[in-house]
């Protein structure tokens, strides 16, 4: 048997065994198989392999589709959540940029929670921050404190 033809046919054998050849190719292969025991034996083997290929479990496609859909829905939800968070961050970022880029004499914020000067230090906050509590001192006590501070400063400088 012509070696080149055998080589050509052997390339086609898996497709022949699985019915994937075009009609014309199949007829040519049939002619060859009629005369070539070697290729026919290989075809027999290919038939055996193909006919014993595993079949997918019943319902596998539905199971995969259900899984794909559920993941995609979850994915969409996650996407919307991420998008909403991104929009919120962008809005905050833009607000900060606009505040910084605006004229310097504009009020820092036109909030309904305006800060009043006497409330600048709340008692507890002041304690935490270490701010001096001078509001409850008498004039004499204040004068004395001032003198002590002055003396301390002068002494330190001397």
């Amino acid at each position: 048997m012509n070696r080149t033809k055998c080589e050509w046919i052997r390339e086609l054998i898996p497709d022949y065994a699985a019915g994937r050849l075009a009609d014309g190719e199949e007829e040519l292969a049939d002619l060859h198989f009629a005369d070539c025991n070697e290729c026919r034996d290989e075809l027999d083997l290919a038939y055996l392999i193909f006919s014993s290929r595993a079949m997918e479990p019943e319902g596998l496609a539905d199971k995969i589709n259900a899984s794909v859909h559920s993941r995609r829905v979850t994915g969409h939800r996650q996407w919307w959540g991420a998008a909403a968070a991104a929009v919120a961050l962008l809005a905050i970022g833009l607000n900060v940029i606009l505040d910084r880029s605006g004229p310097g004499d504009l009020p820092l914020a036109e909030s309904e929670f305006e800060i009043e000067s006497e409330n600048l230090w709340l008692t507890d906050d002041a304690l935490i921050a270490g701010a001096p509590m001078l509001g409850g001192l008498s004039d004499e006590a204040l004068t004395q404190l001032l003198e002590e501070l002055t003396v301390g400063t002068s002494g330190g400088a001397a």
Partner: protein, 210 residues
């Protein structure tokens, strides 16, 4: 190999019988050229059409499952891999540019997923005789059918004795009809190396079957 079926008449019956059943076993997608190509469904899937993805699953889940099974020899794990393959594939489908066919692309993902499982569990499961698929045979009598079924199961078991690349080259070429170039992509070889692996595997399998 099929020594009990000597004679031209027996061979013709055998081949005709298997051919008829083989034609029944080849699904509509493989036989018909009239159905829309995968690429059309891929584009629709990219645009958010879930039903298009369903079609792609229906067309390719069997091949994806078999590729995973060829690598893993574990039916349960192969089903999980088939599921993960489509989830990952569809998640990345926006990046699918069609340089390879969708089928090659999704089967490559399946092979990579299955190899990932092997890496995690450490070794491949041994194949057992009950894992061999159904044998399509319309041979005349029950004896003849039994011989063919037994030979087919034996061939599949003997494939297990081949080196991995030879075994996978045969499985991907015969079962899935991949070209040698596609086989090469799947087993990490060149096209010519895939061809050599296939033919060496077939030759060795024939020796084992005698």
């Amino acid at each position: 190999m099929i020594g009990s079926m000597e004679g031209a008449a027996a061979r013709v019956n055998y081949l005709d019988g298997i051919r008829r059943l083989r034609e029944l076993s080849v699904n509509d997608h493989e036989r018909s050229l009239a159905v829309p190509a995968d690429e059309e469904f891929v584009e629709r899937g990219k645009a958010g059409d879930d039903s298009a993805l369903d079609v792609l699953v229906k067309r390719h889940h069997a091949a994806v499952y078999r590729v995973a099974l060829s690598i893993l020899s574990d039916e349960g794990a192969a089903q999980d891999v088939a599921q993960d393959t489509f989830i990952k594939g569809f998640r990345a489908i926006a990046g699918f540019r069609g340089e390879a066919s969708f089928r090659t692309w999704i089967l490559t993902i399946a092979a990579n997923e299955a190899r990932g499982v092997i890496r995690r569990i450490g070794r491949r499961k041994e194949i057992s005789i009950d894992m061999v698929g159904p044998v399509y045979s319309e041979a005349k009598g029950p004896d003849e059918r039994a011989v063919i079924a037994s030979e087919a199961a034996r061939a599949r078991m003997m494939m297990e004795q081949l080196p991995e690349k030879q075994r996978l080259a045969i499985a991907f070429r015969v079962d899935e009809g991949m070209s040698f170039r596609e086989v090469g992509e799947m087993i990490g070889s060149s096209e010519s190396a895939a061809r050599v692996n296939y033919f060496h595997g077939i030759r060795r399998l024939r020796d084992l079957m005698e």
